[in-house]
Amino acid sequence: MTTLDTDILESVTDALLVLSNVGMGDYSSRVTLPEEVKDSSLRALFEGINEMIRSLEQEKLKSDAYQKELEEKLATIEKQRVAIQELSTPIMEVWDGVLCLPVVGVMDTARSAEMTTALLHAVVEKKTRCCIIDITGIEVMDTGTADHFMRMARAVGMLGARCVLTGINPHIAQTIVHMGVDLSGIESHRSLRQALHAYVTSQKKQQQ
């Protein structure tokens, strides 16, 4: 065997190693032929292999970029989901020790459960003395949910705060009454404004 043949064999062995690296995701190496090798088809083959490695590397970079973009978008979606959750149950401190919870939209059992958890936590955290739940924005409520609402109001009472409901529309009023629920201890006013006014007035009276 000539020196040239040995050199070619070595190049082929190296090439196999490079291809093995490519198989494992390493696109940094290239296959080479010693300059003495003049065979054009062999040169063309090796050049072809290098071309292929280069384009695989390009594809991998593109794919990594897409992956990163996708992960960022998923993270954004998750952040937005949390934001939607918080926005759908905004709990605002409108006066010293007075929380207001305006409810708008569809009050299904899932939302009712989430609201209860959020509200009870807020009542404890902010040492609330009065909690005004405004349901002007709720069109309909099922009796099961209305029942849950009443229990929530009583739970707030147990935590030492007054619970006031405002904005009850005639249909929901009928639903609540038909349930035959004990409404004592649950205050109701027509609007948030009236509820706040009543609270502030009662506080002033207490201080006199």
């Binding site: 569809v106 299904d108 059992t109 899932a110 099922d142 949910t145 029942d147 849950h148």
Partner: protein, 154 residues
């Protein structure tokens, strides 16, 4: 008086994440109003569809809500079908009761908050005329039907 017979196309909303429930609520409201229900009735049907969609997420892994219509002796009815790929109900009639799941009463001591109130299906029963359960090989369908009051049917 003959009513014009125009079959309403079936609307299908895939339910895979919590945000899909909003799409179900919007779709149900539009469908109900288009069928001639009042605003309040449409609101009730939105609650029904919403509960069924939430149940898909909670127990059915994934699925879809289909909104369509049905013609019967009572005229035209709003139909909402919840298809999911979770286990079928063990005992549907028990599951329909408030504060029960499909095996019996939910014990408040062991109930997890994430399980909900156990009243979702109760809502569906109270606000519709008929609720059916169709167990399938790979899941189930829960179907709720409510007739349009005759005077306002379109």
């Amino acid at each position: 008086m003959a009513q014009s017979i125009r079959p309403k196309p079936l609307i299908r909303i895939d339910v895979r994440e919590s945000v899909d429930v909003y799409a179900v609520q919007r779709g149900a409201r539009a469908h109900a109003l288009a069928m001639g229900f009042s605003l309040r009735e449409a609101g009730e049907l939105v609650l029904v569809a919403s509960e069924l969609a939430t149940n898909i997420l909670k127990y059915g892994k994934r699925g879809w809500i289909a909104l369509c219509t049905e013609r019967g002796a009572r005229g035209v009815s709003f139909v909402v079908e919840a298809r999911d790929f979770g286990p079928p109900f063990h005992d549907f009639d028990t599951a329909l009761k408030d504060r029960h799941d499909d095996r019996g009463p939910i014990n408040p001591d062991t109930r997890k908050i994430s399980q909900g109130l156990g009243v979702g299906l109760g809502t569906v029963v109270r606000l519709t005329d008929r609720v059916e359960h169709v167990p399938l090989a790979d899941g189930k369908i829960v179907r709720a039907v409510r007739a349009v009051p005759r005077a306002t049917a379109r």
